[in-house]
Symmetry: C2
Subunit: 527 residues, 2 copies
């Protein structure tokens, strides 16, 4: 079963008539509708869900290990809550129709709802995680995992603490999260909004232009310096000189201590209070990163800017080789255009897809909801859809043989002749006993079925054992227990007393590891 | 922390200005907006989430035990997919705004998306569960758990099987699900659409009136017979005689075999093919219910009709004493009016709130999406929000002492004097070691903190052990491990080597049961 290619099916007459009435469709759609999920969304098949649940539980357990609790907020918020939080991206927010009552919109991320939650409930300190779907009316790029409906997996700490203490633990969680999912080839790019803003001002950018220059710099991971410089000068009105000064800073990256050394030696920044404050904080972070043993993953990269308005301090973004933009983006783009499949809705999907985890400090967002009573926050969001794609690609070899169901026992009945009833109620009663003992069991949903069909169904279910009710044996209080998947069909299994069946099955199952979820967990960790 | 009463907070100036611009608000809202979740939705606090996750994992494991797999579908569907599936309730569907592109609506249940999924992916057989939110623009009744955004927890079997075989297992799952959540005082009301439709026709109802008479009968759990009869005659045009004949049937309930005896002796039904087919199937079900040992939970109740259009065979609904309508509904209604709190938005919430689990057979729904290629289905939906309310009320005594976090170890540092650094990087390094060993650990996010504050924080976190770095001891390679919560603060704990810390902590923790999630699981099961 694959859910990747939805099959178009003609609509039933009633729905087709409905379509025609709406009169907004293309010619083709007037007479039938495509049976599919909305653009930028998709179904998750049973096997995909096994991997998704392994990822979610791995990260959930990680967050709990760090004292995290989970909460949940509605999928839509009052529209005013989301207003003015996302800068240029606000146009991507999904609105619900005004059907009378309040105006609402689907959440765009989990951060703004979290800040609203903290303010609503007058919370002064919380470490919370939230794994849930968010919605963006973006141009979808399915094959790269850029969807209109996608999961985010966020951990945030709210509360007033000493400088860089929660921030550094968030970075430790980021590194631990990725390695625990088998992703070891990543770099975490760091920067600090106070330093970045200080640089812009020291280079001559006016206060009111800082955010838009920051958003130009944010494009440096996808565009060359020349393009970004052009945006600053031609589109955003800075002089060549200012842009060139900025260029000298944003090309710098290295370990925290290396970049700090560069910054500390800068004459231009010496008198900039904001930059000096950021430099001080980054020096503290360097110590803590070493205490956590994560310094080697970190790169203090002055070109990292992050798009969102609400960051106020440390910002970061993890990238892997798999998520980095390919060198020959143009070539891939051309190739994608040739494919012309329904999936490739946007050729730009082959250009850099950004980070697999990102976040930062946002000290003023809660205050926007609580009359200015600020609660400092810092958080990380794992891009679980991209992580999913990376792990699935790596597990491609094992994927085919995975079974999504976790059935341990298949209950069968063998018999024949004109008086053969098929023992269906008896199979049900045996299965019931196994279920009560916590053992997953199935049987064929037919009054009578031949042995071949029952073995086929058992194999499909991935069951490890067969429990067999024989026409002559069962009335004598006996059952057979046979180990499956050994290519030894002639082996008739072991004859046991009906009353012992649960304990014998339990003992036999104890030699197996867990189901395919465990298998996948092991696969992920060993990769 | 409670999320039940959202605190209204004045809006920041920017958002207020935005409000004013929209010009659609009441006077009060023009100058500020209420900081709250949208009507009929709510936040879930950390402690509520612990219970919710226990419920979800209990039911998820149950479904897996029966060979179930899980899938996921988008929260919104193309609007045409939902059109014409929900009868009178279609007006409760949430639409997304037309922002260009496809017209979409939030899902109203998980059943129609499931049928769409089966058709889309050309699946011929699947046992799937899906735990996810659905959306209905209904009048909310928060205290009774009737929300506009709420979780459903569905298990459905699609595929062509022998009569009543999957249906009876679904009933076994229903009973097992409720008892595994500590709910034992329930009844499962059963009926069969073929019998019900046969009764209507045999009593003289015309084919085209059958569904609307069925929907009148469906109100018998909330309204007296006289009111339902009036609806049939005055509103829906049936004669007194027809209504009285129907009345003779729908007052009958009892065990499957008792009701079957009544039906079999009915002269009126003898020649009704539909009723006879249903009677035959119910006789088969009686055998299977006995095989599963669930017959005592079942009541074959001819007044059960179920509102949805798509059912074609067996239908069922589980009710508990807690979910039954109170005798003095009118009195409670008056009382609710007096309270006039924001929460009590609809006094009718005190009238019967319906079932805690319900479902039925729907053989034609998939066919509506696949050019008539039918895949027979049968399923159950657990009303997990109502179940949540029942369990939380029962666990009220233990609720206060529950901790939502699952922290095992609190890492502290004791010292003092002018040269005391607070050992923060050292605490981080110790915590890191514990995290790597899978042990949940926290520490105070301050460079220096006095012992009292650290013990207070440890208590709040629910930690079982303290690991203490002493100013003199730690440089000598020694740590203290102290058991918490024994009211024995003078006990200084055990002095151990730094290199042994992980194994010693693991050993000490092994004597504890799991966290509060486990505690709650035990509470639920023992109730």
């Amino acid at each position: 079963m694959s859910t990747e290619a939805s099959q178009p099916v003609a609509a039933p007459a009633a729905a087709a008539a409905q379509n025609a009435k709406q009169g907004k469709k293309s010619k083709k759609q007037e007479s039938q509708f495509l049976l599919k999920t909305p653009k930028g969304t998709k179904d998750w098949s049973d096997k995909d869900m096994v991997l998704r649940e392994v990822i979610f539980s791995t990260l959930g357990n990680l967050f709990k290990k760090h004292g995290g609790v989970t909460i949940d907020t509605p999928v839509f918020e009052l529209r005013e809550i989301l207003t003015g939080k996302y800068g240029e991206d606000s146009k991507l927010i999904y609105n619900l129709e005004d059907q009378g009552g309040e105006l609402t919109s689907l959440r765009y991320d989990l951060t703004v709802p979290f800040a609203r939650f903290v303010a609503c409930n007058s919370i002064s300190a919380i470490k919370r995680y939230h794994i849930a779907k968010v919605y963006r009316r973006d141009q979808p790029a399915m094959t790269k995992g850029r969807m209109r409906e996608f999961y985010q997996c966020d951990f945030d700490m709210a509360g007033s603490y000493d400088v860089m203490v929660p921030d550094s633990e968030i970075l430790a969680i980021l590194c631990e999260g990725l390695t625990s999912l088998g992703i070891n080839d990543f770099k975490v790019k760091l920067n600090h909004r106070k330093i970045l803003d200080g640089i812009f001002k020291a280079c001559g950018v006016q206060d009111e232009d800082v955010r838009k220059i920051s958003s130009a710099v944010d494009k440096l991971d996808k565009s060359p310096w020349e393009a970004v410089k052009k945006e600053m000068t031609v589109e955003k009105g800075q002089s060549e000189e200012v842009a060139d000064k900025i260029g000298e800073f944003v090309k710098v990256s290295g370990s925290i201590r290396e970049t700090l050394e560069f910054l500390s030696s800068s004459e231009l920044l010496k008198t900039n209070e904001s930059a000096q404050k950021g430099i001080e904080e980054m020096a503290v972070l360097a110590d803590y990163a070493e205490a956590f043993g994560i310094a080697d993953f970190l790169s203090f990269d002055l070109s990292l800017a992050r798009g969102l308005d609400y960051y106020t301090g440390l910002i970061y973004e993890a990238v892997t080789a798999a998520s980095a933009p390919p060198k020959n983006a143009e070539e891939l783009k051309a190739k994608a255009k040739k494919q012309e499949t329904a999936e490739v809705e946007d050729a730009s999907e082959y250009v850099g897809v950004g980070s697999i985890a990102a976040g930062g400090r946002y000290d003023n967002l809660v205050g926007m909801f609580s009359n200015g009573k600020s609660i400092p926050c810092v958080g990380i969001s794992f891009g679980v859809e991209r992580i999913f794609s990376i792990i699935k690609a790596r597990a491609a070899k094992e994927w085919e043989s995975l079974s999504a169901s976790q059935t341990d026992v298949y209950v069968m009945a063998f018999g024949g002749g004109p008086d053969w009833t098929g023992f269906l109620p008896q199979r049900m009663a045996v299965a019931k006993q196994l279920w009560e003992a916590g053992i997953s069991s199935e049987y064929v949903y037919k009054a009578k079925a031949n042995p071949r069909k029952q073995f086929d169904a058992a194999q499909k279910s991935g069951a490890k054992l067969a429990v067999i009710l024989g026409k002559e044996e069962y009335p004598d209080g006996k059952l057979r227990v046979k180990t499956l998947g050994q290519g030894d069909d002639s082996n008739e299994g072991e004859l046991v007393d009906v009353k012992d069946i649960v304990s014998i099955v339990k003992e036999k199952l104890s030699s197996y590891n867990g189901g395919d979820a465990d298998l996948l967990t092991r696969l992920v960790k060993n990769l």
